[in-house]
């Protein structure tokens, strides 16, 4: 291939939930050689993407044609009694929409990486509601920014600089100087030095501390004794509450520190309720720090198509929702799934042992851009092109803002959407044949 040089401006990075769309890519042939404005994670994302090697499709490890692999994949899904479909956070909304269609036709469970990320936050939201805002509201108005159970320096490196603490805004003309930044975490992470106030909380005490903050906001009395084993003092909490009530616009960004520890959705409920309570005094918000590039898109697509955000089952011909029943960790660990399709995610690399063992024992289809433990164990594996680098489409930032992708170079591999559309067609064909055979 000729090494033509081109520059792609306003490109979108989909490594983390920041979804920065101001990246300037220098592309030479099928390599990205520069990613101006990208953070260290974004640079790794763009610069490490090679054109890829190996076949598009494999059946049980052996190269196959796409047609053969699609046929086999469709057969696996159509013949299954309890197929599950999982993943979807690292692909376009266009591909996600076709995936939910396939789940609908075969009556599968459809679940996304949300269930092991901010799923509990979604559940908390269903209980309490949430007071949120787009990141530009934070940029333009926030004078108090709290991070709880989140380490943005390592998980979302440009969050502070582009959105939440550094930028000058309409009502925050001096940027960082006009803001107080608070960090609450169990470790003094790399984010701590940049915070004005750091509260080192003890593990598994987030719910209690958040609940006590709620009490203090409402003017109830808390004793120092109530705070034993939390790692924080009454003075620290009262100080925080005073700041929260007195600020013009406060926002609490919360991460996996809340959703992944004991209490899970209850921890997040406490945070959401705190933000809501503070609206009696000022404008206050609680926003989740979403992880992967398009997990927010996955939530949105599954929600608008089925009515529910994740952990959905279509086996009775219509959507049913139940975290714990239809979520993937559970349907795998309890050995309920008898077939699966895993798209743009790696459960064989990061699920519990029981879940991994069961997944390895059932026939499953995997779509991914790179080789992973999951693609290696798949009955049918497709290598696909990378969204945002090779493939255009729509993604949603952590605050629900939809953003288009601007690909840098073409890939010899098909997009997820293309494979999934072929799969949908084949699935419908097989279902039609099944119906005719039974009549």
């Amino acid at each position: 291939m000729q090494n033509e040089l081109k520059v792609v401006s306003n490109a979108t990075c989909t490594f983390c939930g920041c979804v920065c769309d101001d990246i300037e890519l220098t592309v030479e042939g099928n390599h990205i050689t520069k990613a101006k404005n990208a953070c260290v994670l974004g640079k790794a994302w763009f610069l490490n993407h090679e054109a890829g090697e190996g076949p598009v499709a494999r059946i049980r490890g052996k190269e196959a044609t796409v047609e053969e692999a699609v046929e086999e994949a469709a057969r696996i899904l159509v013949d299954a009694k309890f197929p599950i479909i999982y993943g979807l956070s690292d692909t376009t909304c266009e591909a996600q929409r076709v995936t939910v269609a396939i789940a609908d036709w075969v009556g599968a469970s459809i679940d996304t990486t949300t269930s092991v990320c901010h799923g509990p936050s979604g559940m908390a939201f269903q209980g309490v509601g949430e007071i949120t805002c787009s990141l530009g509201e934070v940029r333009n108005r926030a004078d108090l920014v709290i991070f709880w159970g989140s380490n943005p320096a390592e998980s979302h490196p440009r969050h502070w600089g582009r959105y939440s603490t550094m930028p000058k805004g309409l009502f925050v003309p001096n940027g960082r100087k006009d803001r107080t930044v608070v960090l609450v975490d169990v470790r003094r992470t790399k984010s701590a030095p940049a915070a004005d106030i750091f509260l080192q909380i003890k593990p598994r005490k987030d719910f209690e501390v958040l609940w006590m903050l709620r009490a203090l906001v409402k003017g109830l009395t808390i004793n120092e004794a109530d705070l034993i084993d939390t790692g924080v003092t009454l003075e620290q909490l009262q100080n925080l509450v005073d700041r929260m009530k007195a600020c013009k616009f406060g926002v609490l960004f919360f991460g996996m520190g809340l959703s992944m520890t004991r209490g899970k959705h209850l921890n997040v409920e406490a945070a959401l309720a705190l933000a809501r309570d503070l609206n009696a005094f000022t404008r206050f918000y609680a926003n989740p720090m979403r992880g992967h590039g398009n997990v927010t898109g996955a939530d949105n697509v599954v929600s608008w198509q089925t009515g529910y955000p994740f952990g959905v089952n279509l086996g009775r011909g219509y959507p049913r929702f139940n975290p714990g029943e239809f979520t993937t960790t559970d349907t795998l660990a309890r050995k309920e799934a008898d077939a699966a399709m895993i798209i743009a995610s790696d459960p064989m690399g990061n699920f519990s042992q029981a879940a991994r063992e069961h997944l390895a024992s059932i026939p499953f289809i995997a779509l991914d851009t790179k080789e992973t433990s999951t693609t290696r164990a798949a009955a049918v594996a497709f290598t696909t092109a990378t969204y945002g680098i090779n493939v255009p489409g729509t993604v949603y930032r952590m605050d629900d803002v939809p953003i288009p992708l601007r690909p840098a170079f073409e890939s010899p591999y098909p997009s997820d959407e293309k494979i999934l559309r072929a799969l949908e067609k084949k699935v419908l064909h097989l279902l039609q044949a099944k119906l005719q055979a039974s009549n």
């Binding site: 490196p157 003094r188 959705h265 559970d330 433990s373």
Partner: protein, 123 residues
């Protein structure tokens, strides 16, 4: 700590920059495997337990045991009694599959036992 003794710690798993960058290359890259295949212990605990960087330790959760090298966490980053592992294959092996009806297993702030040698068969 004598080699058969176990001590209770709280395990925190999380993102690290190096885990994030190396993941883009490949989950089979040396860097990714290194970053996700160690456990960080705070310097005071390391000293108290008689451990030096690179020593293999056994970490046991309710479900599994893993044997993994240890390193000292940066000064003041990790409080005593906590362990840190970058997300990945190894940290996930310690995770249970009970999601308590939420879809999410506990994967941060879990109780684990640290010892110098794995008393039971490890993964």
């Amino acid at each position: 700590m004598n080699k058969n003794q176990e001590e209770l710690f709280i395990l925190i798993s999380g993102r690290s920059t190096r885990q994030g960058t190396s993941m883009n290359e490949s989950k089979f890259s040396k860097e990714y495997l290194e970053e996700t295949g160690v456990v960080q212990i705070c310097p005071e605990d390391m000293t108290r337990l008689g451990l030096t960087a690179g020593d293999l330790v056994c970490i046991r959760s309710e479900q599994r045991s893993i044997e993994i090298p240890c390193v000292a966490a940066k000064e003041k980053e990790l409080p005593s009694g906590l362990l840190f592992m970058a997300y990945g294959d190894w940290s996930s092996r310690l995770m249970g599959s009970d999601t308590h009806g939420t879809g999410m297993p506990n994967s941060k702030g879990t109780d684990v036992y640290l010892s110098k040698v794995c008393a039971i068969k490890k993964d």
